[in-house]
Amino acid sequence: MVKIAHIHMSGCTGCLISLTDTYEKLLDILGSVELVYALTLADEKTEITETDDKILIERKIPEGIDIALVEGSVCLDDHHSMDDILTTRKNSKIVVALGACAASGGVTRFARGGQMSQPSHASFVPIGDVIKVDLALPGCPPSTESIVKLLTAALEGDMEYLEPFAEIAKYGKDACGCDVIKEVINKSLCMGCGTCAAACQVNAIDMVEGKPNINSEFCIKCGICSAQCPRVRFPEIIRKLE
């Protein structure tokens, strides 16, 4: 049995919703995995420590995780958050940055502290800034289908399919709509298919005269536009029809 955990950092739970939204496809996967840790989906396993002055009840990240799906960014100012992400790395074989916040910081890149209920929490970074990440799946949230495809490939050891996600884990931490400008339009690669505009989940891209126009005021730095662009990365595996 492959042990899967969903670890929740600073995120909105949208990635977890997307994971559960797989319905029957998730059930197929659940048949071959053991979900050892996940909000709402797995039974809570708590550890009780009793000392002289208090009783501590904690939810502990288990050991021996095969695939950890991490949602949300790391708050550097919060020691719980730091403990959790370091424990996750230590206890897991494969760490997947699930969604924009974990992969590239996403909308949490715009946090700057001074707000209720934790005014001292100001610094939020993608998990790759703190630990080594094996695979990163962008999207806010990533589609249910892509989560299932990634998990299935990981369970089957299909490294060819996973290669682009390993690459995003390495290079995609500073993702932004301007990647499409810098890496595609500036490099004379954009032919105007409109995939970036359709993929953008906050409508920050309009097609003007057949080319993308990035509205950086709307961009949440999720990196889905360049990740989905066929002119940045076109894995050979796509050429296999039927």
Binding site: P138, S143, M191, G192, G194, T195, Q228, F234, I238, L241
Partner: protein, 282 residues
Amino acid sequence: MNPFGNYKTVISARATDKEILKKAQDGGIVSAAYIYGLESKLLDGVIVANTEDGFNAAPKVATTPEEVLNAAGTKYTVSPNVSVLKDAVREYALEKVGIVGTPCQVQAIRKLIKYPMGFRHTDSKIALVMGIFCMENFSYEGMKAIVEEYAGIRMDDVLKTDIGKGKFWVYSKYGDVKSVKLKDTHMYEQKSCHICTDYTAELADISTGSVGSPDGWSTIFIRTEKGEAYINKMVEAGVLETKNIDDVKPGLDLVQKLSLQKKEKNEKEIVQRRELGLPVPY
């Protein structure tokens, strides 16, 4: 070098409907497939490159045969068809979408089917992927320069454009026919087209284009089981008239010649860009 990519069969065909042939560029294959799909309920919506004011092109979700007919004909300018795919599924609530594109757009569609990161509940709604033969494309301003500066026809007055016999042809609403030598149009080509080595939309279910077939007919590559079943249904329903590709002039040799030309020329460009340290799709 494999000129056509994988395919099951190749035929020459044209639509049987006179209305379609009157409006279509060549054999009316895309229009006929779309209209047949909508009428037979195989598709509940299709994405077309619609003709806008000033003979510009823009993608549109069409749900009626009239809308499909209005969009018929080649525009030779960029229509980002993939950009409305998610709208077709979300806003129009379509379950069976037909989409057509140039080879590069078909590649984009195949990528989003294989890696649907930002396309929630979308890829399963794509019912038919059609591709059109393509050598290169022009930006709208580029085509405007060719049509207005070289051919001397106002964009608002354009009825149809066509590329054939080494020339770019412009037909005006008032009956004028002007032509521009293709070598004069090269400087207006999208430079991004020069790293594309796909001429016949090798990843589509069905690819079509005029090259290889007689005037008024189109060549069709049937590539997938889905595409094969679809074409067979069209032939059974009598909306498509077909011929063996070996029996028509100029035939498959010409398609092969143009395809290899594109592949060889653009392979060189890819090598050159790599030598300069510039990125190319990989």
